[in-house]
Structures are given as C-alpha cells and as structure tokens.
C-alpha cells in the first residue's frame, strides 16, 4: 500500500486497535492525511469506519496503537482532552443534537478549542435555515436542520480537523447538495477533514484519497487521481 503524501501529515494513525467491552472491533488501522486534505473512509456498514472516528475521539472502551496529531501522541489522552488539544471537531453518526437544548444552546455547547472559530453570524450565513429556528428545541428540527446544526456547532469552536460521520445519511438530495457545497467551502478555507461516507457519488469529487475499510482494517487506499481506473474495485468493495 503506497501513499504519495508530500505534505507533512496532520493526522497519522498507525496500527490502531479498538474494543467495545470484549469485542475487538478495529484490527490495526493505518491512515494519514495532511493539513488541508480531505480523506474518506469507505466500506460497508459495520466495517469499522465509525469506530475509527470514535477511537480518535476516545469514545471506545479501549484502544491501542498510535494516533498522532501534528506529531503529538493522542492514544493515552483522556477523552475530554482530545478535542481541545487536537483542535478536533466531531460530528457523530446519529448527529448528537441534544433534545433538551435549544438550537442556540446546542450551538454554544462545545467549548472553544481554537481562536479562529466561525462567528454565529458567519454560521447563520452558511446555514440560513438555522437562523430561523434559533430558539427551537433540538428535537423539533428536521433531519437536514439537525445535520447542519451538528456541523455548525463544531465550526464555531475553532476546530481545524473535522471528523464527519455519515453526514448525508437519510437526507433529501437537495440538502445533500447543500452539504457538498459546504464541505467544498470548508476545504477551501483550509480545514482538514475525515469523511465517513456511504454515498460515494457525494464523496468522490471532494476527496484527496479514499481508504476502504473492511473487518476493522484498511484493505485498500485509492488516490483521487486513480478513482476512474479503480471503479471496478470500488464497486466490488461497496456493493453489498
């Protein structure tokens, strides 16, 4: 497996193993991405893509191996230090909108992790739908609004590395299109992004590199330039 990263890696994961209780879920994941890059984790449901993100965030029962962010080792950090020390923003698969908090409270919940987070006004510019529902409770949002809130929430904190889990899942095509625009915009603003994605058509034009995960390991790595030539392989991996 060869990667042709010339940029110094911002995130470098080596031999990552993770457990939920007794069950061994990740079996030695290796991946890396440079600052400003976007990678996707592709694969079938249950392959270990979400667990890879959750392991980075310290949301598994046990993890071993190495997770280096800007050269600093994160594998032994307590969960609540990971986001501030790594300037990471995490957007979980189930979106994680708090039902007993208003939109505004959800937005203000995560503590700042860097100085240059987007302002509330900028965020409402980026997601105009949210501006109209500021005072509404988290539960009373549509799926699309919840997803936008989940992304806006981490952009406010000044995070530079974004871990986004299945952000297009279950959303209408028009919203998926909006999200595609947002991700492209974030990339031009220099964010580094890991995208767990089921929707390859959504992910393909955005990514610098694709990692295919199966049974808790990376089984293939495909550079953006090689996607055309690797379509057969990809179809094979992603078909059920």
């Amino acid at each position: 497996m060869s990667t042709t990263t010339l940029i110094k890696p911002m995130l470098k994961i080596e031999n990552l193993h993770a457990w939920y209780g007794e069950s061994h879920v990740l079996h030695g994941v290796n991946l890396e991405l440079g600052e400003g890059q976007l990678i996707t984790l592709l694969g079938r449901n249950g392959a270990g893509r979400s667990t890879t993100l959750r392991s980075i965030m310290g949301m598994v029962d046990r993890r071993t191996g190495s997770i280096a962010i800007n050269g600093q080792e994160f594998i032994t950090k307590p969960a609540h230090r990971i986001s501030p020390d790594g300037r990471i923003g995490f957007c979980p698969e189930e979106r994680g909108i708090f039902a007993s908090l208003t939109v505004e409270e959800n937005l203000l919940l995560p503590p700042m992790v860097g100085a240059d987070g987007m302002s509330i006004e900028e965020l409402f510019d980026m997601f105009p739908n949210l501006a109209n529902v500021r005072k509404r409770m988290g539960t009373r949002l549509s799926g699309g609004e919840q997803q936008m809130l989940a992304i806006a929430r981490i952009l406010r904190t000044g995070a530079r590395l974004l871990l986004l889990d299945e952000i297009t899942e279950g959303l209408a095509p028009v919203i998926v299109k909006t999200l595609g625009r947002v991700i492209r915009d974030l990339k031009t603003r220099g964010y580094t992004i890991v995208l767990v994605e089921q929707n390859f058509r959504f992910a393909a034009p955005l990514a610098d590199r694709h990692y295919v995960i199966e049974h808790g390991e990376v089984i293939d790595t495909i550079e953006a330039a090689d996607v055309e030539a690797s379509m057969d392989r990809l179809n094979h991996y992603l078909s059920v």
């Binding site: 949301m59 986001s83 708090f98």
Partner: protein, 301 residues
C-alpha cells in the same frame, strides 16, 4: 374574615413551610438523578448532617479549638454547613459512587442507603437520639409577623421566602445558563459531551456536591424549627421519595412545584381531616402511580 378561610390560610402557610423542605430536598434529588442516574438515598442523612453541622458550629466548634466563647452563628452556618456537606458529598461520589456507574443503579441506591445508616449510627452514638434544640437562631428572625389571618413566626416566613429564591436560582442556573446547558447535555449524552472537551467526571462530581449541598442547606434551615436529631432525615426522606414519585424524576421545575404543592395539600388536609394529613401524600402517590407512572412532570423514558 370567615374563620374557615382563615383556618385554611393558616394551615396552608404551615403546610407551605413543610413544602419548603420537600421542594429543596426533591430538587437536589432531581438534579443528582438527572445527571448521575443515581437515586441518592443518603439525601435525608445529608440534610441531617447539615442541621448537625449548624449545631456543632454553634455549640461545639468553639470549645474544640479552645475558644469557649466562640459560637459560629446561623448566618455563617448557612454558608459553611452546605459547603461542608457538598464537600462530603463530593468525596462519596469520587471514591464510592464512581465505581458503581457501570453497574445497575440499584447498587448506588444500596451504597447511599449504607452511607445513611453509617451517618445515622455515628450521630446516634455521639448525640442525643431524641433531638437537641438549635440555640443559634438569629435575634433578627425571632418573633412573629402579623399576616392578617394569623401571627406567623418571622423565622418560618424567612425560610419560605429564602427557599423560594434558592429554588428559583437553581432552576434558572440549570434551565437558562451555559453551565446548565452542559448539565442538561450531559444528562442526555455524556459520551458526546466528553468528546466535545468537557470534563464530564468533574462535572458529575460537582453536580453531586451541589445536590447534596442543597440538602445540607435545607438541614441548616430546618435546625431552628425542628430539633436537631439523628433521625430527622430518615423520617423526611420517605416523604421526599413520595414527592419525587408524584412529581416525576428528573424534572427540575416539577420537583420544586410538587414539593411546595404537596406541603400545601398536607397543611390544608389538616383543616378537613387532621388524621389523614400524614398519609395524604402517600395516597396521592398511589393514585399517580396508577394513572401516570412517570409522575406529573416526568418525561416518558
């Protein structure tokens, strides 16, 4: 004024006075239950501890440090005793409860029940089991106030007003501030709150301290009214659990409103059929359990 109305108002005031303690204690229980999912059986014992600390600060602490003339009075005790109870609560959370979170909640209930028995045993050993009057009531709160329909002890009126303010402040902190929104979020999904960079174990410890501190505060307020006795909390906690069942676990406003209302109901029942006053709350509990098992303000779980 019609004597009947006068009687109802008077008993209502006395009932409200009991309701104050129901409200403050069930409020603390609700705060703790919300974030920790722990039914803190020791809440009554911590209320007792608060009352005893007030008594000790006034009657014994001076002598212990060789200053016989030093009596640490009601006002300092109103701040010191709850802080000490909160500190004690945080130790219980940090070194005992924290080990049990992964187990069934029944274990933490049993643990706090054990803490209750130990505390009661200790105080029965060293103090008069039938109660000691608290001599430190401040001069400014002695005497009575004419409410028009009755002469009401000034101190009790102070307790009612003070407690309403405390309950409102606690409600405001939890429902309307940034700290409160973190607490509510932690109640829903502690794992994600932690991933956002919030030190959830610390927050849990402080919350437990805060909830138990409220019990300690109620204890200090109770000291001048009831005599300070090792079993004062044991008698109250049973009623408090009935209040919590009626109000529904986990609702802050629900705990407060139910606490005050049930005090009132109890008081007014005295007017019509005095022997039922002590059981009316339990009767209501049975009805609520049958009709609305989650409590009047409870969330569907």
């Amino acid at each position: 004024m019609d004597p009947m109305i006068r009687l109802i108002l008077a008993q209502g005031m006395l009932g409200l006075n009991n309701g104050v303690f129901y409200a403050m204690l069930s409020l603390g229980l609700a705060v703790i239950f919300g974030l920790l999912n722990v039914v803190n059986f020791a809440h009554g014992a911590l209320y007792m501890l608060g009352a005893f600390l007030a008594l000790i600060l006034y009657s014994y602490a001076g002598a212990w440090v060789g200053l016989d003339a030093l009596h640490i009075g009601f006002w300092p005790a109103l701040i010191l005793a709850p802080l000490m109870v909160a500190g004690f609560g945080m130790l219980i959370e940090r070194f005992m409860l924290r080990r049990l979170y992964k187990l069934d909640p029944i274990y933490s209930l049993l643990l706090t029940f054990g803490v209750t028995l130990v505390l009661q045993g200790l105080f029965i050993n060293f103090f008069n089991a039938s109660g000691t009057p608290y001599p430190g009531m401040p001069e400014s709160l002695r005497g009575v106030v004419n409410l028009g329909f009755m002469m009401f002890p000034k101190y009790r009126l102070f307790v009612i007003i003070f407690s309403i303010i405390v309950c409102f402040v606690v409600w405001y902190i939890i429902e309307r501030t940034r700290i409160g929104s973190r607490l509510r979020a932690g109640t829903e999904n502690p794992e994600l709150v932690k991933a956002f960079g919030i030190n959830v174990p610390l927050m849990v410890m402080l919350t437990f301290g805060f909830g138990t501190g409220l019990a300690g505060l109620a204890g200090v307020l109770a000291a001048p009214i009831y005599s300070v006795s090792p079993l004062m909390g044991a008698n109250l906690i049973i009623v408090i659990f009935a209040v919590v069942v009626i109000g529904g676990m986990g609702s802050i406003a629900g705990a407060v409103v139910t606490g005050f209302s049930l005090g009132l109901v109890e008081g007014i029942t005295k007017v019509f059929y005095a022997p039922a006053a002590n059981t009316v709350i339990f009767l209501l509990m049975v009805i609520v359990l049958l009709v609305r098992p989650n409590g009047l303000f409870g969330r569907q779980s």
